[in-house]
């Protein structure tokens, strides 16, 4: 199994306050991982630490087997940050925002090639914003802005997607559209890490769930629908946290996972 994202005994402090402690996990190629947890449980920080956006105090983060500081294959990763707003101080069209997703594949100072433009058009098409490509992002609804950010990650044609609360504050129709886009990626064999509060229509796609609580991994295993399910059987599982990575086998079947096509690439 090829590990895509690994953390070994990771800890993160923000402003002196410990936010993550004793995090060890490994995510392999082709997994579809949901990171659940309450507000302040550290689920976003976990994902941001793996992307190098917050420094780790202890431990080591590896992407595709390379330590974070030596990792250069960023074009293999499509990141969808938590949406504050897609709009900045100057207007920008949907096409321009999505086009910045191609930067990791474009050489410096050269104009976009045909393939770049095609990838941007395809990504916009995939999230259903084709008619809005020339509109300013600030004129879109929240759900549409979120879709534009997903298109931006798609445009780089990565094989790993890391999404931080992609459906927070997004209307149900957009959530369903997003779940469909996600399914296409899953069927293509993409590795997906998804931070969410509620899974909603995405639930059937998930192959593994990680639940964060108080900066620790409270659950890691078969998909479950929501973080609350873990609350009940949380006694003292802490010693289990350091179980070897090989203990984990990717889930090919589970009560709510009926996509048998995943068996082939596990």
């Amino acid at each position: 199994m090829d590990p895509v994202i690994e953390i070994e005994d990771g800890a993160v402090s923000l402003g002196g306050r410990p936010v993550l402690r004793g995090i060890s996990l490994s995510i392999s190629k082709g997994e579809v991982v949901a990171v659940l947890g309450a507000n302040g449980s550290g689920k976003s920080t976990l994902v941001r630490a793996t992307m190098g956006l917050v420094p780790t105090r202890y431990g080591q983060v590896k992407l595709f087997g390379a330590p974070l500081e030596k990792f250069h294959g960023w074009k293999r990763i499509g990141f969808v940050p938590q949406r504050v707003t897609a709009a900045a101080g100057v207007p920008a069209s949907v096409w321009e925002v999505v086009a910045s997703g191609r930067l990791s594949r474009r050489p410096l100072l050269l104009p976009m090639r045909k393939a770049d433009r095609a990838a941007v058009d395809d990504a916009i098409e995939a999230v259903g914003l084709a008619g809005k490509a020339k509109d300013g992002v600030s004129t879109l609804s929240g759900g549409q802005q979120q879709r534009a950010l997903i298109a931006r990650a798609l445009a780089g044609q990565p094989d790993v997607f890391v999404l931080d609360e992609p459906t927070a504050g997004v209307d149900v129709a957009s959530q369903q559209a997003f779940a469909q886009t996600l399914k296409v990626l899953v069927d293509r064999g993409a590795t997906i890490v998804l931070v969410a509060h509620e899974l909603g229509p995405m639930a059937p796609l998930i192959s593994r769930t990680i639940v964060m609580r108080d900066g620790r991994v409270a659950y890691d295993g078969q998909p479950i629908a929501s973080a609350h399910e873990v609350e009940h059987h949380h006694g003292h599982h802490h010693r289990d946290l350091h179980k070897p990575d090989s203990d984990y086998t990717p889930v090919v079947s589970s009560p709510i996972d009926h996509s048998s096509n995943r068996e082939g690439r596990a």
């Binding site: 900045a88 207007p91 920008a92 321009e96 930067l103 020339k134 004129t139 950010l149 780089g156 129709a173």
Partner: protein, 332 residues
Amino acid sequence: MNIFAYDFMVRALLGALFTGLAAPAVGTYLVQRRLALMGDGIGHIAVTGVAIGLLTGTSPTITAVIAAVIGGVALEIIREKGRTSGDVALALLFYGGIAGGVMITGLAGKGAAALNSYLFGSITTISSMDVWITVALAAVVIVVAIGLSPQLFAVAQDHEFARVAGLNVRFYNVLVSVMAAVTVTVAMRTVGLLLVSALMVIPVATSQQLTRSFRTTLLLAMGLGTLASLGGVVTSAYVTVAPGATIVLLSLAGFVVAWPIGILVRRRQLLTAPFATEGDDEQDADHTVVPEAHDHEHGPDCGHRAIEHGDHVDYVHYGHRHAPHGSHYDEH
């Protein structure tokens, strides 16, 4: 009177042309990062640089470039470390720069009058050496601002995404600061240090009234900046007015014209935009048929906000919620 017959006018127009192109180009990135006043902060620091030039007898332009670059990088570091908010960091530079400038000018034995031509510009007394420095520096700024626009755009738009895309965010942020510092000193002779930020920001503010994309905002701002600065110089050739102030007032006039047009354009766009407000009042689902006629079917792309409501989806329609029910819509 043929203004091109005078060498000093030709020099002034050349300086104005390049300043007018470069200042809004950098200004666009500053406005995008919501640092519109950064040019002003750097301008104040440059006052200290000019004063050091006056004190030591070296070219004030060179000392101003050095001081401005140091100030711009310092500002970026203070901002990035996040201990001081951006506007407080700016305030520190504002007052430190101007106080330092006045004090050092005093030490040099010159009155505040010596600073005046730098504070408010004196483009018609610009020497040919200064013109070439202005043109060369401005040309570099323009080439970088346009050549690296995809990277600079991405970093200013969303620095976290840019970082995960493998861009060196700190490098590009510092690059914008350095470009701003260079532009400030370049524009020092045209509009003066106290008004330079106006030429960086106002054309951008004007341009974005009318545009939807970043690229057109950038190019239109550069065009507007050039028009204003050439217009200001030409006006001051015929009427006895300060060119720097005229340039800034011309830019402002452009904004005053563009603003109502922008409001009209946006209002027209709003009519087709998705419904924005949330009618999240939880009422019981009565069977109240929507009285108005419907010329479309609500769906994911109808533009009306969709709200999950139990087992179905409501669509917000002019302040109330429509729930599909067979061939008609119910009020929810």
